[in-house]
Amino acid sequence: MSQTDTAETRTNRTESQSVSTTTGETVEETQAEWTTYEGGGETKLAVDDLDVHYGSDHALKGVSMDIPEESVTALIGPSGCGKSTFLRCLNRMNDRIRAASVDGTVTLDGENIYQDGVDLVELRKRVGMVFQSPNPFPKSIRENVSYGPRKHGDIETGLLARLTGRADPGREEALVEQSLERAALWEEVRDRLDDNALGLSGGQQQRLCIARCLAVDPDVILMDEPASALDPIATSKIEDLIEDLAEDYTVVVVTHSMQQAARVSDQTAVFLTGGELVEYDDTEKIFENPESQRVEDYISGKFG
């Protein structure tokens, strides 16, 4: 039984490989088109021929795209097509998944983050991430927000710092307020900053995680469905935030809402089932005049 299974998967894989080689030319043509796509400005992150396997499961297939700085890039596609997987490649969170193996290169400001000797702690300070499901620490709201800066030594608390006069509670307060404000959560929690974050609602937790990420002040912010548990008002606040952020940061956002992608993003990448990047272009172009029939079908809801 298991033998036939593996045999099957093996033939499947060779088949899919042969398919990709037979259609190789067309693929390369379109790829050529994508790489010439330059988006808004300088390339912040350049992804080249990225493959991800989970064990024998091929989750991302030869993805290449350039993400321009100080802009919003939306990733859309049906569930299970590899959007989160792709996002995790950009700050190497996939390294933490045992089964995952990544091939290809991702360069951040011209440096390959997949070469030997990359300091993952530094990388993740520069490429922050908001997860698909909210995951606040079992600490107070204040401690959640100031966690990153504290651990990086940007804010000093604790006895020693207080004794030597290096502690600056005002700075912490300001940072907490500013981060929560930007994440549209300040008004709701200003009176209970010392309460445990696990007591917040799902949507509040989601915004808290955004605030926690902002407090670290990364260059690139990866957001995996940041508005999935939010009501329309909070969603629109988050969308405003994303647009604001794009003035200083590079934002990559996964979303299931076409409208959201159309509203907030400068460019959109469409992944389709099987882990391929089918089309990547200016958001307007994707939604009004996509190259590929499959993308058009997906956007108009004919195909999931």
Partner: protein
């Protein structure tokens, strides 16, 4: 009471039925509690109550309960009241009543002088009959008839005095005798449990709701009795220990506490012999063992669950730690005696005892810490890593705080075990049977600095020291000597002190755990 499907069918007699069943449950509960009190010798079964001997009164109550229980079943079966009875009481109830009646049959026929074959025959016959009665008729009959009959039988035995205060039965082959004051309460406990369950089912109108109420009453009575036994045990030691513990206790005019039992030694000079040296010995012993075992155990747990590759190595360590935790304490004691004592001045010493008990505590701290660390959700680790925080900082600021309540639970359990250990102390720490106050370890004041390595020394740690369980053991084996006025009282006071010391350590541990849990979840 919401009974949606039956609302239209509610009649007056239904409430009467319910009230009667409720009363029967209550009466069963009272009988159960009184039986428990009799078992613990709080009341005597030959005390006269309302003109009757208590055991006869028990019999009357059981007869009444048995009869009404049967009545509940019959009333329901012949539709005097509407209930939700199902077609059968079920295979579990049937099996239980089979076992009960098999035992009852064997016991009664044995008492009647039938031989083994006869006993077996009667037991099997009654068991089969009980099975048939429980399994085949409708639920209301099946769960009341066998139960009621048990109670009636027990009640008859008590009322007629077949089993009563003067009853005794030598157990062949056991070299022991059963007396009435044990058997009567046991019979009452058992019969009232059965009728309580049965009447509770009737109260719930049989069916799903009846089973629910039945299970509820059954679990409450059983849990209650276990708690009662535990409380009884503590109460027993407390009652016997209090006179010794408070011997000479006084609160002086200036609010000064004088508690000679806890502050005196047992030397010739002391008016009232006390347990101070051993008390202090136990306290230091536990503190030393915890100080040794908690950092090492938690450190090892962090390494094993956060850094080591999960695989054969960690598996082997796990098996080894589990094995160590179940290793008998005398083996640890031998290790201490053979390995530690030669290294600490070749004599029994406080530090040898601390380390030995620390080694004993280590595996449990390691096991529970490991489990607590593994139970911390990976999301916390991912979230921290994604913020650019290093692994060690993540462990220190997220993983360990989330694991503290679990670690504390392990330490609480472990301290309970080591504080009462005698064998390892016997081999490694020694100390006198009746140490004088001067023999108390002066650990805090004992530190001395010196100019040559190891620069710090503490003679108090290197001296043989007594501890409460060891002193208790030594007192008992040495035969209580005449040096102290009331050796019995002294020994019980000592036992109570040990119990209190363990409880205080528990309280500290539980307080710590509560504090950290609150911090995590509130």
């Amino acid at each position: 009471m919401s009974r949606v499907t039956q609302t239209a069918l509610v009649r007056d007699d239904r409430t009467l039925y319910e009230a009667a069943a409720g009363l029967a449950v209550g009466l069963s509960g009272v009988a159960f509690v009184t039986g428990l009190a009799a078992l613990l010798n709080i009341v005597a079964i030959d005390d006269p109550v309302a003109g009757l001997e208590l055991s006869v009164l028990f019999g009357v109550v059981l007869l009444g309960l048995g009869a009404t229980t049967v009545g509940f079943g019959v009333a329901s079966r012949f539709d005097y009241v509407e209930t939700g009875a199902q077609p059968s009481a079920g295979i579990v109830a049937a099996a239980a009543f089979t076992a009960i009646w098999l035992a009852v049959g064997a016991a009664v026929s044995g008492a009647a002088g039938l031989g083994t074959v006869g006993q077996l025959g009667v037991g099997v016959f009654l068991g089969a009959a009980a099975f048939a009665t429980t399994a085949f008729p409708r639920e209301d009959i099946g769960s009341t008839m066998p139960a009621g009959a048990v109670a009636v039988l027990c009640g008859l035995a008590l009322v007629t005095g077949v089993v009563g205060p003067g009853w005794e039965q030598a157990l062949a082959g056991y070299n022991a005798t059963l007396f009435g004051d044990t058997v009567v309460p046991a019979v009452v406990l058992f019969a009232s449990l059965v009728t309580g369950w049965s009447a509770a089912k009737a109260y719930g109108g049989f069916g799903a709701r009846g089973r629910n109420v039945g299970a509820y009453v059954l679990t409450y009575l059983v849990v209650g009795s276990i708690l009662a036994v535990l409380v009884g045990l503590v109460a027993f030691v407390t009652v016997r220990g209090l006179p010794g513990l408070f011997n000479g206790f006084s609160v002086g005019g200036a609010g000064l506490l004088s508690w000679p039992f806890l502050t005196n030694g047992a030397g010739l000079l002391a008016d009232i012999a006390g347990v101070f040296p051993a008390l202090l010995g136990t306290v230091w012993l536990v503190i030393g063992a915890v100080l040794f075992a908690v950092p090492t155990g938690v450190g090892a747990a962090v390494f094993l669950s956060e850094y080591a590759e999960q695989g054969r190595f960690t598996g082997a360590v796990e098996v080894a730690t589990n094995g160590l935790w179940s290793t008998p304490s005398i083996v640890f004691g031998l290790f201490g005696a053979a390995f530690l004592i030669p290294r600490f001045g070749n004599q029994k010493s406080l530090i040898a005892g601390m380390l030995t008990l620390g080694f004993m505590l280590l595996p449990l701290v390691l096991i529970t810490s490991r489990e607590a660390i593994l139970a911390v959700p990976d999301e916390y680790r991912d979230a921290s890593a994604a913020l650019g925080v290093s692994k060690w900082q993540t462990i220190r600021s997220v993983v360990l705080p989330a694991a503290i309540p679990g670690v504390t639970t392990g330490v609480i359990l472990g301290v309970g075990r080591i504080a009462g250990e005698t064998a390892p102390i016997l081999l490694t720490m020694g100390g006198g049977v009746l140490p004088a106050k001067s023999a108390a370890p002066n650990v805090l004041g004992g530190f001395q600095l010196s100019a040559s390595p190891p620069f710090v020394s503490n003679p108090a740690l290197l001296e043989a020291t007594s501890a409460l369980p060891y002193q208790l053991y030594a007192l008992i084996t040495a035969g209580l000597s005449g040096n102290i006025q009331n050796p019995q009282e002294y020994a019980w006071g000592l036992a109570l002190t040990l119990l209190l010391v363990v409880l205080v350590f528990y309280a500290i541990g539980i307080g710590t755990r509560y504090y950290f849990r609150r911090k995590l979840h509130q």
